[in-house]
Amino acid sequence: MSLNQQYLTFELNGQQYGAPIMLVREINRITETTPIPRTPVYVEGVMNLRGKVIPVINLRLKLGMSKGETNQHTCIIVVETPNGLVGAIVDKVFSVVEFRPEQLEAPPNVGSKEHLHLLGMGKLDERVVILLDLLKLFETDGVIDASALTSQAA
């Protein structure tokens, strides 16, 4: 997977993360979600996005962090996956950042399967933005079958 140069930066647990802009369909305010029984903890439930029911995942819980508080900055990033749209709850959305190639680095070699979730590191004003591979994150888990969900919902 090539590195797209434009990323949507957001915040999780005080740390800046980035997601490839091409995966992002839209950004929404947090809305009410309908919980689904017998689903993993990080699955908040489903939401109605303009007549379309999509699953919503709490990214903090998905990334093994504690469940944060919901405030006015909390947003849902709607991500396009091959299985359909998936909502991801983040603490805050910053902006669309275009990284030059020298600002990007490969993910550090820590030797774990979860490295697969990372696209790399973006350097921005002495800070480091963790660039997440959302597709992989959602795929590798193998939990989310959006179509199934949608078909079930349909």
Partner: protein, 554 residues
Amino acid sequence: MGSFGRLFQGIKGNFVWLIIVSVGTTAILGLIATSSLDDLKENAHRIQTVRLVRLLNLVALRKSTSDAIRLCWSAVAMTEDPKIAKEKIIAANEMIQKSDELEKINNENINPLFREKFNQAIGFWKTIEHSAKLGLAEVEKGNAKEAKAHFVVVAAEAPKMTADLEEILSGSTALIQEDVLQTDRTASRSFTIMLGLVIAGGLALIVIGILFSVRLTRNLTRITSSLRRNGGQVLQASEQLSGASQALSSGSVESASSLEETVSALEEISSTVKMNADNSREAASLSEAASKTANLGESEIQSLIQSMNEIAKGSRQIEEIINVIDDIAFQTNLLALNAAVEAARAGEQGKGFAVVADAVRNLAQRSATSAKDISNLIRLSVEKTDRGAKVADSSGTVLREIVSSVQKVSDLINEIATASQEQSRGISQISKAMNELDHTTQQNAASAEEVASSSEELSAQATMMQKEVTDMEVLLLGQVHHNTGHVDSVAAASDSASSFELKSIAKSHSKKGVSPKMRVVHNSQQPKTKSKAEEMIPFDDLEPAKKVGTTDGF
């Protein structure tokens, strides 16, 4: 009983005793005289009723017997003439009978001394009678001879009987003479006894009178000396009383002036208290005004707090508006982000749109920042308003406290005002009492002056009394004879007597020494008597016996 007992007390009792003694003596004399007279009367009576009667009876007996004998002889002589003889016989018999009767009478009354003699005579008489009767019977028969024989017997016996009777008669006469002599003796003895008694009673009366007068004089002397002593003490006491009452008078006057000063001071205090009351009333009204003002302030504070609250409310509304603005900015930001996302996804075609989106996003962020700033400012303003409200609240509380304090102050001042009024009333009462006290003190002063004058009068009267006592002593003793040291008070009494009395004092001092009491009296008397040392100390060579005019008069 008591009144009867009182009769024998004092001088009256003495006189009563004197009278009783004299009356008793007289009574004894009278009794003795009466008994003597009784003796005399008895003697005379005895002489009259016993001795003389007996004598007369005896004489009658002798006469009748001799008459009988004579008649017998006559009858014998008249034998020839029976008629006459008869008469003589009858007469002789009558005489014999009469003699018998007399013999019986004499026999009853005869003095025992002459009983034997009388019986002897009667024995003779019986013989005579018998013979005479026999003779008379013979005469009656006319036998003169036999009659003579009988009459011889009679003639023989008759002298014996007559001699006996004569003897008895002479004895009786002797008895009468003896009785008369005895009566004479009794009379002379009675006279002697009465004379002796009269002399003795007179002497006793004289002795009793002397004793009584001595006792009376002694008692009266004692009384007058004690009167003199007491009079001197009374004089001294009255002088002390006079001085004390004068001091009391002056003290009363002083206290009256002090009282007046006190009254004026009280009036000043009263005016001060009234001023206090007025001031406290004014202070009370002022504090009431302050209380009203504080209440007004409190209500102002309340309206201030309300305004603050309204400001806070407005601030909150502003905050809400700001929130709305913030929300709008957020949404605008989101929209800009979405636009940016869309532009990025559009690739090269979306580049211009991306710029616009970025600009919109910048605007949105700026408005969000401004909204945040405004929000902070509003928050600060709200905080300050809250703080101001709190301050206003505490100010209100403080004001309320001030109000209550002012109220308390007002109450206290009111109490002070009433207390001042009560004080004023009390002071006016005190003032009234003081005025009364002043009045009383002035009366006291007047009374003290009266007492002073009365005590001076008393002292003058005591002096007078001393003089009277001296007069009484002279009356009692005939001359002034002072053997006591208490005459010094009299020295002041009469100027004429002073030199003598001082002299006598001096003499008594020289004899007895000056007693402390007398010395005190002298000291007190010295300014009045102006006695000098020469008068006090005995100088025997000076005027040895100068008699005083007062005693010369008696």
